[in-house]
């Protein structure tokens, strides 16, 4: 297996240029939204709105202003599939369409997916959606085809500020730690890493340096693997079935005893 590869996205240097979105769309031949018609969302400069089956990179524009708008700041972040080490989508997929590649990334095989959407509801980050053109679930492949050819993913290649960095995870983690220390030394005390260690789903192969708490960026602080709920849910369901099954059996036994008693009474009356 090749060395685990991933993204380190340093949001402190993102300028919201959306070159990553364009490069991703171009390389992966993803269709335009609304048939190419411009539709303004009314949400800052963000007209992409969210990740989707045809939008595998999404630059978030977060307007962090005071209510009177006298002070404020822009937070920008290029969001993408996290390629989780413990991936909920991969667990949930019933068809085996979602696989882990030799680069430790998570990819949906388009010729296998049947569009059941189990992965859509399992992903704790809301990354996966159906591509309306193929009717299959789609998300970032971390440019699996480019990686196999020894190339850098299109988004990282296009990023002009090196906000999106691609490379071996061990190297990226070191770089992220250094950058975090640098920011802390500059007084940016709210800066933090998200998903760089095993605390979130065993680690995110696409991890972030954020300038505030994750919720501000629309990221869950403690995302869960949904399969962890299955044993308790199955046990409760089984217990309910056992209780009602026993009730049925007791009822049947009582019915039989009543019938025997009635037959015996008839016999006695006959004598």
């Amino acid at each position: 297996m090749a060395e685990p590869m991933g993204f380190f996205t340093d949001t402190s240097v993102c300028i919201g240029c959306k070159a990553c979105e364009v490069a991703c769309k171009a390389w992966n031949q993803l269709p335009a939204r609304n048939g190419g018609k411009v539709q303004l969302s009314g949400m800052s400069y963000d007209n992409t709105v969210s990740l989707s089956g045809i939008q595998w990179r999404h630059v978030k524009f977060i307007e962090d202003f005071t209510p009177d708008r006298s002070t404020g700041r822009w937070l920008m972040m290029s969001d993408v599939c996290k390629h989780c080490v413990r991936a909920a989508c991969l667990e949930a997929c019933p068809t085996g369409a979602i696989i882990r590649t030799e680069f430790d990334t998570v990819v949906i095989q388009q010729d296998v997916c049947n569009g059941c959407r189990a992965c859509v509801s399992a992903c704790p980050f809301g990354v996966i959606e159906i591509n309306p053109e193929t009717n299959t679930a789609m998300k970032c492949t971390l440019c699996y085809d480019r990686l196999q050819a020894g190339l850098v993913p299109a988004c990282a290649q296009a990023c002009p500020t090196q906000s999106i960095q691609f490379g071996p995870l061990s190297e990226l983690r070191q770089r992220a730690q250094q950058r975090l220390e640098q920011l802390h030394a500059q007084g940016v005390t709210q800066a933090r890493l998200y998903g760089h260690d095993e605390s979130i789903l065993g680690g995110l192969n696409s991890f972030y340096l954020l300038l505030d708490e994750p919720e501000k960026y629309g990221l869950p602080s403690n995302p869960q693997l949904p399969s962890t709920r299955v044993p308790a849910a199955a046990a409760l369901s089984t217990a309910t079935a056992v209780v009602l099954g026993l009730l049925g059996l007791v009822g049947l036994r009582k019915q039989r005893m009543d019938q025997l008693a009635a037959a015996a009474k008839q016999g006695n009356d006959g004598e």
């Binding site: 969210s50 909920a88 667990e91 949930a92 997929c93 019933p94 068809t95 085996g96 369409a97 010729d111 296998v112 997916c113 049947n114 569009g115 059941c116 959407r117 189990a118 859509v120 509801s121 399992a122 992903c123 704790p124 980050f125 809301g126 996966i128 959606e129 159906i130 009717n135 299959t136 919720e215 629309g218 990221l219 869950p220 602080s221 403690n222 995302p223 869960q224 949904p226 399969s227 709920r229 299955v230 308790a232 849910a233 199955a234 409760l236 369901s237 089984t238 217990a239 309910t240 079935a241 209780v243 009602l244 099954g245 009730l247 049925g248 009822g251 049947l252 019915q255 039989r256 019938q259």
Partner: protein, 296 residues
């Protein structure tokens, strides 16, 4: 903010609502029929069991068709049962709840069909040569497997929702129990409605089981509501779906519970009234649970 609020909806929608209703009804019908088939030789019980297997068979076919229609690529429906690259069965990936469910439906549908055919042949409605499907040992095995797979399938639907990260579905572990109990109430009342005149000896037993199923449904529903955080309740059920759920619990569970306890309140209209209330309640319960989270 709960971590389930950052996800997107799978948009299973109305297909899922109908399919979950049918699955609960059909799966628990098989369970009830298996109990009667395996533990009673009474003529009335056999008749009700035959109807139970019939409902299970029709329900499993309908369930399968709804599931296929709901796939975005229905031409690849068989990928649910066999891995397309190796042709190995998908239940080998047992940690995928949906893969297990697909196989449960397959087994449940197949065995329900066979035991239904056997039971009809035993009753002289089909050629006698097929009666071996209803007699021991094959009939016993088929009834046992159909009952077990049906019971699994009825509960699995809720567990499938629990195995997501959506608001409500991913914030509780009670949905499997809820859907099973409510499905069993629906199956009891449907069997009661169909067979009450032809199998009066079994009606009392079905009535007791209905009472138990409604009671468990109510307890589990309350357990579910108490297990949810306030923010989840506000987001998911602080709207029309919350109203539907509340009305369902009152008119689809509590009122039928009282009517089952005191059937003389409605006289000869008791069972038809119960059937309408319980079946509509089971359906609306799924509407509230599924569509509320989809809309959040």
């Amino acid at each position: 903010m709960p971590d389930t609020f950052y996800t997107v909806s799978p948009h299973w929608g109305w297909y899922a609502v109908v399919e979950f209703f049918v699955a609960g009804l059909a799966g628990t019908s098989a369970g009830i029929a298996a109990l009667l088939w395996l533990f009673s030789r009474n003529r009335d019980d056999r008749l009700v069991a035959r109807w139970g297997f019939g409902i299970a068979m029709v329900g499993s076919v309908l369930s399968g068709l709804l599931l296929i229609a709901d796939l975005k690529r229905p031409d690849r429906f068989w990928h649910m049962l066999l891995f397309s690259e190796t042709l190995l069965p998908t239940f080998l990936k047992w940690w995928s709840v949906m893969a297990l469910g697909a196989w449960a439906l397959f087994v449940f549908g197949g065995t329900s069909f066979l035991i239904f055919v056997g039971s009809l042949a035993e009753a002289g409605r089909l050629p006698r040569g097929l009666a071996f499907l209803g007699r021991e040992p094959i009939g016993t095995i088929l009834a046992f497997v159909a009952g077990l797979a049906g019971t699994f399938y009825a509960g699995y639907k809720g567990v499938l929702l629990n195995a997501t990260n959506r608001p409500l579905w991913g914030n509780t572990v009670w949905l499997g129990a809820l859907f099973f109990a409510s499905g069993m109430a629906a199956a009891c009342v449907l069997l009661l409605l169909i067979t009450r005149r032809r199998a009066p000896a079994t009606s009392a037993w079905l009535g007791q089981l209905l009472f138990g199923a409604l009671g468990v449904t109510l307890v589990v529903a309350l357990g579910l509501l108490f297990s949810l955080q306030g923010s989840v309740l506000r987001l998911v059920l602080g709207n029309v779906y919350g109203v539907i759920l509340a009305l369902t619990l009152v008119f689809g569970v509590l009122l039928p519970l009282i009517l089952t306890w005191r059937p003389q309140l409605l006289g000869r209209y008791a069972i038809p009234s119960l059937a309408v209330l319980v079946l509509a309640g089971a359906f609306l319960l799924r509407v509230a649970v599924i569509l509320s989270s989809e809309a959040a």
